[in-house]
């Protein structure tokens, strides 16, 4: 047995395998944090848009610059991934799709669907 104190540290990120389930799971966390960080901006937009015709026009105007559109595509990806991967987690909670082969396929499908829809949105937007 190797002495744990002197065990080799293996932290080459390119050689650690990330299965589809791990990717879907970490992306679920990252997207959740990004959605959380976008909340003040979204609350501000909602407030502005409900203040009257002028406020609504101003809110629409605020969404026009390219960098804001790119940011909104990131938020839309976060929302889509969080929603789709979240529904997958809820199904697994009630014991649907727990077996490893099915869970791997659904993790891959969830991540890819969210990414594709977000790209479609970005394409439509730009």
């Amino acid at each position: 047995m190797t002495d744990p104190q002197n065990a080799p540290v293996f932290l080459n990120l390119f050689r650690i395998r990330f299965p589809a389930g791990a990717v879907a799971s970490i992306a679920h966390r990252i997207s959740g944090v990004m959605l959380f960080l976008s909340l003040p901006f979204l609350a501000w937009l909602l407030d502005l848009s409900l203040q009257g015709p002028d406020g609504y026009a101003r809110a629409v105007e605020l969404l026009q610059p390219v960098w804001v559109r790119l940011g909104s595509a990131l938020i839309v990806w976060s929302l889509l991934h969080h929603l789709i991967a979240g529904i997958r987690f809820l199904l697994i909670d009630i014991h649907i799709g727990v077996s490893l082969p099915v869970a791997r396929i659904s993790a891959w499908a969830a991540s890819m669907t969210a990414l594709l829809l977000a790209l479609l949105y970005a394409w439509w937007l730009l």
Partner: protein, 115 residues
């Protein structure tokens, strides 16, 4: 007893709020895809319909609960130093309460103005 059920309560709150958030979001998505861009009058009329106004307020409250449990989990998992952890938890609570109450106020004011 309450110590033992604390984690379970947060877990359950996370799932129940998730179901409501998902259903509401899917409704919004379908509505926006079918309806296209709104004018101010359409947007204001839609959000001040009594049922929609209340359902949206429910969404914000569910979102505050859901985001709190989620952010708390993430902070407790990755941030170990106690001071930093408490600081980030406080900031999270402030940002969530601030944004949530602000959005609720906007919805309520719009509903009052519409009457």
């Amino acid at each position: 007893m309450s110590r033992h059920t604390h984690g379970l309560r947060a877990w359950l709150l996370q799932r129940i709020s998730a179901v409501y958030l998902a259903m509401f979001l899917l409704y919004i998505l379908v509505h926006c895809l079918r309806h296209g861009a709104h004018s101010y009058a359409q947007w204001q009329a839609w959000l001040t319909l009594p049922l929609m106004n209340i359902a949206s307020a429910g969404f914000i409250i569910a979102l505050m609960a859901h985001a709190w449990v989620g952010m708390r989990d993430v902070i407790l998992d990755y941030i170990k130093p106690l001071g930093l952890r408490l600081g980030l938890l406080s900031l999270t609570g402030l940002l969530l309460a601030g944004s949530g109450l602000w959005a609720l106020r906007s919805l309520l004011l719009a509903a009052v103005r519409a009457t």
